[in-house]
Symmetry: D2
Subunit: 272 residues, 4 copies
């Protein structure tokens, strides 16, 4: 099976990059299932129903969120009606957080893909323990038995926590991919147990920016420590950053991982 | 001029990767000047004189440090005798921190390269303001006048702070490169003002690990929150991760940036 | 019932303050049950069996720990043999953390006191969600039914998280008291639902120090950002800091809360 | 000389507490100079000119701010016209931050009081190094020579950083007092060098709250991790929390320190 994951869509520029490239890539790369992290799609902060609709239209089969899940408050209700939209799975179990943190999707040909979203703890305003939460979710969808493929989006700041999650899932997930830092990492690999891994997928956004937001205000804040106007997303040509993973349908494990970077300022990289 | 920078050397495996590849790469790529961040070279924690000697022997012209600068206490005295070893420049100005945070090197052919080391502030045990410190150091070595090339090693956790530093230096440095996360980023670019930039160079270390350290203990700590034995560096085959930048000798600005990843588990990438 | 709680015992000076004052206070104040946080009793870092024995000898009926629980590794085994020693209750449920995070004690006269230890999350290397963990523990010991008194030690940095925990437990615990900052707060009150509350009990230690540790090295570290020798506890005359709470045996709720500060540099304060 | 300092005024309830008690206390305690931290006076977030005017009217001679200085943006311009309003002194020196971080006030009888505001670095969105900044400001107003009294407001989260600042200033300031945690500490003392010290002055606000804000929303956020409505200040009867210090006019050092807590839920405490 061929999965692709695209990282944090930032604002209009990021949405346009998806629109420009995803439909074509889905065809050309014969992608069976596409997941997009879109926690910054609405002006950098959260997501709306209209924006999610567009992203689904452009080829996403599932959208994941992160620490910005609820920046647009109507996402709290929209998510209860939309099973393809996932927020992190590690809300305290006793809390009735709206929506789901994981879901099992059935492809037209009957194969099933599980997607799990989880929020990290290091250097973040944290939810519940991400490792126990992922353990619980993985146990719901044994790879090669309940699910033909399992994808985990680790929305986290620290590379250490993300790599630890990769190894924690190794052999039990098809693909563990990080999001949140908005910068793609160049460490795509298949871990010893067969799980494809990349520390961060990178963003779909303008890379002449500070993690997708206009650079002038951000640099000024960092260097003067004084408030500036509310920052908006940078609007230059954006790069769509993602990762393609191919799994063995017998085991659900990965046989191939390739980065995707197309458009904008970054050097184009596509699976051969 | 051709500069190369290699990221955090982690333990023996990382040192061996440098030893295996740097001498050859220096020749094959006609590198004029090589900087290596070696804050984790001694068993993952700091650096010793003997280890620094080996790294210089293998082709480093300058070694930078970071938050682990003083993990081996004798570095506090060694650095006062070794001008090619730099610790971050943003110690409080009134403090007589040992060693230097920046230095200007003269090549055999008379060209001069300035290297500046700076420690970030976000999510770190911080030093003084990194932006004002870099401003001060940049003013000491105007590009194209005092220095033919200026390289800034931003040792920082957050991608936002590193990108902001890139833009802050844009047009005034030849190359701004991040370190500390131990994972190479795939965002090499030349910023609009002519400064080459990559958010993190990545480590020289074993990528079947948690940021270079043995994975078993680290995963256990993350998932149980209980103490484990003191963690050591992973010892499998390591990847040497770096970046090559070519500058225009008239302006000191970058004309080319190419990642280097050789050995170990990551896909080999070399300048054409 | 009369409960007393004493905050983080720091090193030898803190232990001596307990030894000097606790036996006498237990008699004079007719204390039924005494809890002592002793996470820093062994040279500032953790606890040993010998030290715990002394503290029990001096009148403690229960000892709580915190983020320094395992600084002395033998505590990991000692705690499995000693039911009166508690570590935080919010380890991930699936983890078999040694020892207990809560316990129900029976007094000679048959009354029962529940003690719950929990670690905060804000600005700390966090465990699992403290609120859900306390919810679970409180449900095990309904006040006035299973337990005649319930005491919660919130080992946390942020005043906001501690106050929120106070209100979260209001009406369900007899006494919620904070630890970890090593400075007593002057906000003792009975919350509207009947729970006695104080944000921090303060430490048993020398207040001519930096939170109990020698001041010279600490000030030097803060002002120079350079490493200093390993810091030890300050050794001047120490203050025993605690809080006394009286409960109504019918409801288990608090009818009185009074700070205790005796010895050392702080102004003496004792219940009338 | 008799100085008093009142901690973070939170919203209308906090302002009313000042209004109810400060004019009377200033007379009864023969206060020569009163400083009020009012960073949360405007609905919990920042300060406005109209609110500052009221606080000056009620007897404040100087107002200090903190991390919330600019929450109301017009404070950025108001502060340039009002020398009695201070923001933290540790903005990067090269930055032209509006207003002042320290000022020297002359009393009607000719005595001079220096007030210094500084923002901590631990667990905060930090400014420049607080220790070097305070060093610089203290050097401008040698105690007993240029200034008859020197007061330092350390707006910081961590008790360790605040105590370290106390010792750092010991013998060079009359009074070092912490703010920001909104909870008064019970550790008033005169340090060995003659500087009066209290880790936190506490807030002027309603203590049936979470650090001055309505408790319901705050507890819900902590326990569910879900967004709630924007939180406003609690509106019950507030306590005015402060500290009185008496100095020796010959040396500028402290001879007496007494907490002040009046009104609201906390036990009343006044200098004899
Ligand atoms: Fe994001
Ligand atoms: Fe995020
Ligand atoms: Fe490193
Ligand atoms: Fe580092
Ligand atoms: Fe402690
Ligand atoms: Fe602690
Ligand atoms: Fe405040
Ligand atoms: Fe504050």
């Amino acid at each position: 099976m061929r999965l692709a994951f695209f990282g944090d869509v930032v604002g209009r520029a990021g949405r346009r990059a998806l629109e420009d490239h995803l439909p074509r890539l889905k065809l050309e790369l014969s992608l069976d299932f596409v997941v997009v992290n879109a926690e910054n799609a609405a002006g950098g902060f959260g997501i709306t129903e209209a924006i999610a609709d567009d992203i689904f239209q452009n080829g996403a089969d599932c959208i994941t969120l992160g620490n910005h899940s609820w920046d647009q408050r109507d996402a709290l209700t929209y998510i209860t009606r939309e099973d393809r939209l996932l927020r992190p799975c590690n809300y305290p179990p006793a809390v009735e957080a709206p929506g789901k943190g994981a879901n099992l999707f059935t492809l037209p040909d009957g194969r099933r893909v599980a997607v799990i979203s989880v929020l990290g703890r290091l250097f973040m305003d944290s939810l519940d323990d991400p490792f126990q939460a992922v353990e619980r979710e993985l146990n719901n969808v044994p790879l090669g038995m309940v699910a033909d493929a399992v994808l985990v989006d680790v929305h986290a700041e620290a590379t250490s926590e993300k790599m630890a999650m990769g190894h924690f899932c190794d052999g039990r997930a098809s693909f563990v991919v990080g999001t949140h830092t908005h910068i793609p990492t160049a460490d795509a690999q298949i871990l010893p147990g067969g799980t494809a891994y990349q520390t961060d997928a990178g963003m779909c956004g303008d890379y002449d920016s500070v993690i997708g937001m206009k650079k002038e205000g951000s640099v000024k804040r960092f260097s003067t420590r004084l408030p500036t106007e509310r920052m908006g997303p940078a609007e230059g040509p954006a790069t769509a950053c993602g990762v393609m993973v191919e799994t063995d349908d017998k085991t659900g494990l990965a046989v191939r991982i390739d980065p995707i970077r197309v458009g904008g300022r970054l050097k184009e990289t596509l699976p051969d």
